[in-house]
């Protein structure tokens, strides 16, 4: 049976964790009480392990838990030290709390809060990679993780396009389950067969990717995203542009991202200068549109919209693209940033022809692109 004082402290600890975003239900709380009551002289490690398995729901919570636990039960010991204490604190962890009046060495809520905040801040860098603006991912490890996330995200498109089997009245493959159900009126005899079709083909994407100087910060991740889209949809085409436009579908299909970057650089496709969006789109319309665009094509433009050409010129070219495709989605990394106003002349000129303007400043923002596509 658990001591009332200890159970109060566990409840207090649970409340503080809830305030920190852990979702802990009544069942978890009662289970923790039960387990603590059953343990004979639990030490800090066994208590930590039990509560962590019950109270955590994901990797981030799991990795933060030890520090939060230590800052609540051992506020005097520094967080770094607490990791190294093994045997010395092992003796009758909760019993020690009985003697210590309020238990747990007199932790106050305020102390826990301040420590928990500092921990959260430290752990936050990794936790929020998917939410972080690409500009602030200057840590190499975080950058690589975000790139992986971006590519994985793009590959989700394949899963989305592979829908469940669809039941239809005409087709090639009979669905026996539905046929029997539909023919119950005839005693189960399959007089009216029902068919199923497998899944949709992946969409035909045409990616127009701005690789000018102003996109330098965003492009490492957007390359990975675009590459993922091309891998997910085998019939897609990719083009990069700055003041000129190039077809790079083959390069985006390179097995290694490094090889892709090297080839883009060696072919002078990466540019540290200005952008002529309208002129590039004109080149696309003249030389590639006939082969690349079709009625079911989804055109994805990845650009910050900084254009040296006249806005009307851009509108004309976008109109041509729109007439030959199903949807145009414009991914703009600047849209998610407070300093940028979407009312620039280029964006206003493009507005009538673009189905969706989507922010593309973080992995989370890119997620919405997958769901905006008309499959």
């Amino acid at each position: 049976m658990i001591n009332a004082q200890i159970s109060d402290r566990i409840v207090e600890f649970t409340h503080l964790l809830r305030n920190k975003g852990h979702i802990i239900g009544i069942k978890e709380l009662t289970d923790s009480m039960r387990i603590m009551g059953e343990l004979n002289h639990p030490d800090e490690h066994s208590t930590l392990h039990h509560l962590r398995s019950l109270y955590c729901r994901n990797k981030d919570e799991w990795q933060q838990f030890e520090n939060l636990f230590m800052s609540f039960w051992y506020p005097i010991t520094s967080i770094v030290e607490s990791k190294n204490t093994t045997q010395k604190n092992k003796t009758t962890f909760l019993n020690k709390q009985d003697k210590n009046i309020s238990g747990i060495a007199g932790t106050t809520t305020a102390m826990f809060e301040s420590m928990a905040d500092s921990i959260k801040y430290a752990a936050g860098k990794q936790n929020t990679i998917s939410k972080a603006d690409f500009r602030f991912l200057n840590n190499h490890h975080a950058m690589r993780e975000a790139e992986n996330l971006a590519e994985k995200l793009a590959l989700q498109l394949r899963a989305r396009s592979r829908m469940h089997r669809k039941i239809v009245s005409k087709g090639r493959n009979i669905d026996i389950r539905h046929t029997i159900r539909r023919n119950m009126a005839h005693g189960g005899l399959p007089l009216h067969p029902v068919f199923s079709i497998k899944h949709k083909k992946p969409p035909h994407l045409v990616i127009l990717h701005d690789v000018s100087h102003s996109m330098t910060w965003n492009n490492p991740l957007l390359f990975r995203f675009a590459r993922g889209l091309i891998k997910a949809c085998p019939e897609s085409e990719a083009f990069v542009f700055h003041t000129r436009l190039f077809c790079v579908t083959k390069l985006y299909r390179e097995k290694s991202i490094q090889q892709m970057r090297n080839k883009l650089e060696s072919n002078n496709h990466l540019w540290l200068g200005g952008t002529c969006i309208a002129e590039s789109l004109k080149y696309f319309n003249q030389h590639y549109a006939k082969a690349a665009l079709r009625k079911n094509a989804i055109v994805i433009i990845i650009s910050d919209g900084f254009d040296t050409d006249a806005p009307e010129y851009l509108a004309t070219q976008l109109n041509l693209i729109k007439s030959k495709s199903k949807q145009i989605i414009w991914l703009n990394p600047m849209l998610g940033r407070k300093t940028y106003t979407s009312g620039t002349e280029t964006m206003l000129a493009a507005k009538p022809f673009v189905d969706h303007f989507v922010p593309a400043h973080s992995v989370d923002a890119l997620r919405s692109v997958i769901y905006k596509m008309k499959l």
Partner: protein, 287 residues
């Protein structure tokens, strides 16, 4: 706890204290366990080892895109149903029609099979993140009530409560509802001491010096920002390969070692990343 720890070790799994505690909690609370972690850290092996310890059946459901109820829970035996219908005379009563949706025509799939066992089995739902969200939602009833509802038959309650282990590689976010029904454990790559013990147990004829060098090399390799870190299985394969080639000391067989790296590096990007210079640093760490 010591008992379970010893049993896991004697069955070839070297756990840490946190994992043993979580497994004990799973036993005590009869709750499913969700294990997340990178590929190759030993998530699936836990279920296999537990089945050995409890001497019970391991029922495995491998998840994939578009996994549906028919492949995971139950399916009607359509050919048997049709044969039965044809074998009856033309006058079919409602009772006859109900009969074709009875237990006689039911085919059990892993989830249904798991809850109909007399002795609690280990139910391994592997790589749940590969399945769709709809399937995840379907699992909720099973995980909280240990029962399955079949529209034609009604609710089937578990004869014995299976020990459920769900694994995920974290390729997509799982729903809160699923997480809430499970205990949670995040399995990291083993630290060097644990990895040393794992190799020692799996490759008994390895000498201690080589074992330590392999562990140091692998630990340093995992710190290299690889796209696919070598898991425990890769470490064991590599150790066995080195023993097979008669390697006694990692540093003395550098050239041979660099030729066997394909056991550890699984993508072209990673092969490019580990160039001669990096390799030299790794050897330095291992020495």
């Amino acid at each position: 706890m010591t008992n379970l720890n010893n049993e896991l070790e004697s069955n070839g799994y070297v756990p840490d204290a946190a994992l043993t505690t979580t497994l004990e909690l799973m036993e005590n609370l009869d709750r499913p366990l969700l294990i997340e972690g990178d590929a190759g850290v030993g998530k699936t092996s836990i279920a296999i080892t537990l089945a050995r310890i409890h001497e019970c059946e391991l029922i495995r459901l491998q998840c994939y895109e578009n996994l549906d109820v028919q492949s995971s829970v139950y399916e009607w035996n359509y050919s048997k149903q049709l044969l039965w219908i044809n074998s009856q005379n033309n006058q079919k009563t409602e009772r006859d029609i109900n009969h074709i949706f009875s237990q006689d025509f039911l085919l059990e799939r892993p989830l249904l099979k798991a809850i109909r066992q007399k002795k609690p089995p280990i139910l391994l739902i592997d790589e749940i993140d590969r399945a769709d969200e709809a399937f995840e939602a379907f699992l909720l009833e099973l995980l909280s009530e240990f029962q399955i509802s079949i529209p034609e038959l009604g609710t089937i309650k578990a004869e014995s409560i299976p020990r459920v282990i769900i694994t995920s590689n974290g390729t997509r976010e799982l729903s809160d509802a699923l997480r809430r029904r499970c205990l949670y454990h995040y399995l990291e790559y083993p630290d060097s001491d644990r990895e040393f013990l794992i190799i020692e147990q799996a490759v008994p004829n390895i000498n201690k010096k080589l074992n330590r060098q392999i562990v140091d090399f692998i630990q340093a390799l995992r710190a290299q920002d690889l796209r696919k870190n070598p898991g425990i299985a890769e470490t064991l394969d590599w150790s066995a390969a080195l023993i097979g080639m008669g390697v006694k000391d990692l540093i003395e067989s550098k050239e041979l070692i660099s030729k066997t790296l394909s056991c550890l590096l699984k993508t072209q990007e990673d092969c490019e990343l580990i160039n001669n210079k990096t390799l030299e640093k790794l050897f330095h760490t291992a020495s």
